[in-house]
């Protein structure tokens, strides 16, 4: 089976190089399983990450099928879809967080700039410093606010001396829009903050190592609407400096924060397009059924 996939991938690569966009996979010799062709343009002009034919298996069960997509530089791209559709799985492929799950196998090609992130020469530590992550539940370390932000730069040895670290911590908190609220209590535990503040602290922690891409896995699902609005505003500001990939269950949120939206269904990337097009005029029936609440 693996040879077939490699051949198929080679064929696909050739086809992509020739056409500059995805060609119908029916012309590529994949005989092992049926494939759903993604609707919409998967390529962008200035890609930050390029994913081609990504497959994920959990103990033999295929969780992600032939996902090919570009993630553009300085764009916010949203992944939507029903539970178990593979959107979080795919997100976790992008910084190899799936490595921590036993029996999880990723086949395919994911490039960050020019580097194949699944290549042996790439260390996950380096990758995760470049591709930061914010999780569903705010998960600050049970340490002080300062330590939370300083942890990443410290383990990577990014700064020399206390003064420089102070500056970096303050800058990160400032950029995460949290500095004003916590300026006078940096030594208090991060867990003493409110849920929304904790999540912004987690964002500050992620941007403290100056990543190129930030992955957000349902970052607002545990927050109230006001905290959510603050995070969304923050996402919009962060777009200037970072590429952001966000998984969300809230279609309104995807619509509000993202420029492009991808719809996943049962492990397939069904449709990708400009966010306004996806939400006003989706091309695929599954997308339409999902966003209009006809699913299932």
């Amino acid at each position: 089976m693996s040879t077939t996939i490699i051949e198929a991938k080679a064929n696909l690569d050739n086809a992509l190089n020739a056409e500059g966009r995805q060609i119908p996979l029916s012309s590529v010799q994949i005989t092992d399983y049926d494939h759903r062709q993604t609707v919409g343009k998967i390529t962008v002009d200035n890609p930050k990450m390029i994913c081609r034919d990504v497959n994920v298996y959990y103990t033999g069960k295929q969780a992600l099928k032939h996902v090919s997509i570009d993630i553009g530089a300085n764009e916010v791209i949203a992944f939507i879809g029903p539970s178990g559709c593979g959107k979080s799985t795919f997100l976790r492929c992008l910084n190899r967080m799936n490595d921590t799950i036993p029996f999880c196998q990723v086949i395919g090609e994911i490039k960050l700039d020019q580097d194949d992130i699944y290549d042996k020469s790439i260390d996950v530590v380096q990758l995760r410093a470049r591709v930061g992550m914010v999780f569903q539940k705010p998960n600050p370390f049970p340490k002080s606010i300062y330590e939370n932000v300083a942890y990443g730069p410290r383990i990577h040895g990014m700064v020399d001396g206390k003064a420089e670290m102070d500056e970096l911590v303050r800058a990160s908190l400032e950029r995460a829009g949290l500095l004003k609220e916590v300026e006078n209590r940096l030594s208090e535990p991060g867990t003493s903050l409110s849920g929304g503040q904790q999540q912004r602290l987690c964002i500050a922690r992620a941007i403290a190592v100056n990543p190129e891409v930030i992955l957000m896995d349902e970052p607002c699902s545990a927050l109230d609407p006001i905290a959510t609005a603050k995070i969304e505003e923050l996402i919009d500001e962060l777009r200037e400096n970072y590429t952001i990939v966000i998984v969300t269950h809230s279609m309104q949120q995807a619509a509000r924060v993202s420029q492009r939206t991808a719809y996943f269904h049962l492990g397939d990337l069904i449709e990708i397009g400009e966010t306004d097009q996806i939400f006003t005029n989706p091309k695929h029936k599954l997308t339409e059924d999902y966003i209009t609440g006809r699913f299932g």
Partner: protein, 241 residues
């Protein structure tokens, strides 16, 4: 992407959407009647019937308000997306045009009253010659629109949109003829202007119908075909995805 006919997970949403569409179709039927009655009143020189048409316009106005209210509440409460959003937006725009068509019918009725309620003599039949074919064309267009809306039929909508050109040409030639009459006999000017208003109203009905047809195309195909050339419209609307 065509409209999905599967039921929503929330059944009540289906009911509300269906109610809204039925209300618009009902309003369309009412507007159709108004045009028919206005033209009939003109034919029969029946001032009373014309007044009735004028009075009934209030019902149509009321329905427009009702449809807009329902649309707003649907948007606020259900946050529609995709085809649902297009449906609600299109319907709320369609009712605007329907209401205008209703206004045009009222205008025709007012002209009827003005023409036949006075002491002056009736206009000669040749002045009114063009009203009939034009009113038939306009009524057909409106009927076609409502038909297309009821069945979400893009081909029918395209047909309606195409029909507007014919009506426009009819209007142009009617206008030229009226001008000729007015130049020939200046006493006819008073009546001719009234007739001019009537055929202008019919021409407007055609324009509104065309708008409705365009909304239907947007509703079904998700493509905005307003302000484009007819061949582009036809191509966009009938293109298979």
């Amino acid at each position: 992407m065509a409209i999905s006919h599967d039921a929503h997970t929330v059944k009540q949403f289906d009911v509300l959407l269906a109610n809204l569409r039925n209300l618009v179709l009902e309003m369309g039927g009412l507007v159709e009647d108004q045009i028919k009655n206005a033209i009939q009143a003109l034919d029969n020189e029946d001032v009373a019937a014309a007044r009735e048409v004028i009075a009934r316009d209030q019902i149509i106005n009321g329905m427009q308000v009702k449809v807009d209210e329902d649309s707003v509440s649907l948007i606020a409460l259900r946050q529609p997306l995709g085809s649902d959003l297009r449906l609600i937006m299109s319907l709320s725009k369609i009712v605007t045009d329907l209401e205008r068509i209703g206004d045009e019918a009222e205008k025709i009725a007012r002209m009827t009253v003005k023409t036949y309620d006075g002491v002056s003599s009736s206009p000669s039949a040749k002045l009114l010659r063009d009203v009939h074919p034009m009113s038939k064309l306009a009524a057909n267009m409106l009927h076609g629109c409502l038909d297309a809306l009821a069945r979400l039929d893009v081909e029918k909508a395209v047909e309606v949109a195409k029909g507007d050109d014919e009506l426009d040409q009819e209007f142009q030639s009617a206008l030229r003829r009226l001008m000729t009459y007015m130049m020939e006999d200046q006493r006819t000017i008073g009546h001719a202007i009234n007739v001019l208003f009537i055929i202008k109203a019919l021409e407007r009905i055609g324009d509104h119908s065309k708008n409705i047809a365009e909304y239907i195309i947007y509703l079904v195909k998700g493509k905005d075909v307003r302000h484009v050339k007819m061949d582009v419209l036809v191509q966009d609307a009938l293109e298979e995805e």
